[in-house]
Symmetry: C2
Subunit: 361 residues, 2 copies
């Protein structure tokens, strides 16, 4: 069968069997690079085109899925496309009411972009478990290891467990000249302290696999001569080990409470936006990837994905695998992001051969 999520496909000789899907996302953060996501979308189209041109006849259909809103830029929650495909009624209803900074709801935005098929809800997009035989994603590494070690292909074995948190502090604000220091409860300094506390709690685990980032701090009213009366902080933390990651989240929560108390500001929001488990890649797919890299005579290594991807969510409804290719200095999420034509071609070849194998299972 052709699945409702498919964007492009090659119909198999037995289209009733679960299809083999591949794809990635087409959206990007502000001031981003041009390879994160897009390589896996154009690569998927090219891999299937190569198989078509070669006259290959799959047994299971091959399908390309093109995700949007993988980046949390607009609604503050990542992987909205794959999260909804793999979602539940509860999740769908929660997301429906989320608003962007222009107060446009996710439902209205999805509708105006043509993604809504029912006026009632978004749950018609949810995929049944087993809708796909397998899902495979090609992606740049977004880290420096493959390039540093001169390895062509990374075969991903697991995706780290991500969490994201929004925090808001509120104080009295006031004039930067007239309000004396002991009278202040500065929401901006509370945010600064919390940002440094996130770093401290991550380093305290003692594990290289723990990371934490404050990518967003917004001060209100945002004038040089005004004490911040409100601050908004967004925090991202991840780990291979889910329990250790949950420990970091708990420490960040405790620090938020302590900072608010000590500075006399109100902790007006502490919201865990998502706190997802890690995902393990499927053995059958890993084996097929190893066969492909051997056939192509490419160097490879097994690795963990510290960044997460639509594959993290697709793993909830389908066996999942990922292919990494090297990128310049590991740069990602900035304009210097780059992957060479040769590395992309290697990734597409591995993808095509792996899709072919899986489509005959």
């Amino acid at each position: 069968m052709d699945n409702k999520a498919a964007y492009y496909s090659l119909t198999g000789s037995d289209p009733e069997l679960g299809a083999v899907a591949t794809g990635s996302h087409i959206d990007a953060i502000p001031y981003s690079g041009k390879y994160d996501g897009v390589v896996g979308v154009l690569g998927a189209l090219e891999a299937i085109n190569v198989l078509k041109r070669s006259g290959f006849q799959p047994k299971r259909s091959l399908e390309v899925i093109l995700f949007t809103s993988e980046e949390p830029t607009r609604f503050g929650i990542s992987c909205l496309g794959s999260r909804l495909l793999a979602g539940s009624e509860a999740l769908v209803n929660g997301i429906k009411e989320s608003v962007d900074d222009q107060n446009t709801s996710f439902f209205d935005a999805a509708k105006s972009a043509g993604y809504v098929v029912s006026e009632e809800n978004l749950s018609t997009v949810i995929l049944e478990k087993g809708s796909y035989f397998s899902f495979l994603e090609l992606h740049i590494e977004q880290g420096p290891l493959l390039e540093e070690e001169g390895v062509s292909i990374g075969i991903v074995t697991a995706i780290a467990a991500p969490a994201s948190i929004k925090v808001e502090f509120e104080g009295n604000g006031g004039h930067a000249g007239a309000v004396l220091m002991p009278e202040r409860n500065d929401a901006g300094l509370a945010a600064a302290e919390l940002a440094l506390a996130v770093e401290k709690h991550v380093l305290e685990t003692g594990s290289m696999d723990s990371v934490g980032t404050v990518g967003i701090i917004v001060l209100h009213p945002g004038a040089i001569n005004s004490i911040p009366s409100k601050s908004h902080i967004e925090i991202d933390t991840r780990d291979i080990d889910e329990k250790r990651r949950d420990g970091i989240v708990e420490k960040i929560h405790q620090s938020s409470i302590d900072i608010a108390k000590r500075r006399g500001v109100k902790l007006s929001e502490f919201r865990i936006v998502n706190q997802d488990p890690p995902a393990k890649c499927d053995h059958l797919i890993i084996n097929a990837l190893e066969v492909a890299v051997r056939q192509l005579n490419l160097s490879h290594k097994m690795m963990i994905s510290r960044a997460y991807h639509d594959s993290l969510f697709m793993a909830r409804v389908s066996p999942m695998g990922m292919i990494f290719i090297p990128c310049y200095k590991g740069y990602s999420h900035k304009p210097e992001e780059y992957a060479s034509i040769e590395d992309i071609a290697n990734g597409v070849n591995v993808l095509a051969l792996t899709l072919a194998q899986l489509s005959l299972e």
Copy 2:
């Protein structure tokens, strides 16, 4: 003579004598209140109207000056109107090239608002020293003292010395999941550390009169899953004691260097936007204010202005004085800012009587 800066006036019987001027500013910060500045503009118009209606004939002309861009919101430098009136050729040429966040130059902005009289430069606005016999400004206190002590009028004796600083850090940025903690040079955390260092250096002076504020922190690219590659911080610090204030500025500079070194980020900008001396109010004006409050039977106190005002710059070209009135809880630079009709009326009456006295000198 009617001065070129005057917006509204009452001509004296001896118009060749230096005029007595009064006024304040009409601009405001984002999400501001409605009293900061505006009370001194509408109050000035009303004070002169009252004198006109009463049939009072001044010897020296009375003039209202209405300043714009007292707040540093658009070009990052405060009191542009009064600063230019009291300015030098060097200052004027420096300001001319300043740009706002849309890259519009100050010169172009001033031109499109009708403030430019010469295509060559802005220096035609500079007032000669002695252009005015005296300058007087009515303003809300922007602090809590008058209200707390139940005093109607504050007679300002001096304005604290302000300085403002812009700082930028640059790091490598990168993906919040993929770049491990030891590989990072996070420009956002450098900003957070500097914000806390500003507070520390201010408290270290041990004086109640030292204040310091970080009202602006901007992180780039500003995405939850991206390590900040750039940060921009704006700092305001003031003190009654100029040397002590300069000591704080120097410590902030040293901390910026130390933080950049320790975190492996580049200190790409450390710019002192302004570092002004304090201003003393004129004895003749203070005496006239004391006579006025006694005539009106109003309680008063002598006080220092910790906030600064256009009067700080007008003091460079004219003897200067300021009248403060109470405001609700000392709130300013936020929507809750408020002054009662009674307190505003008291301020206007003191202003009118003082202008009348000075106009007869």
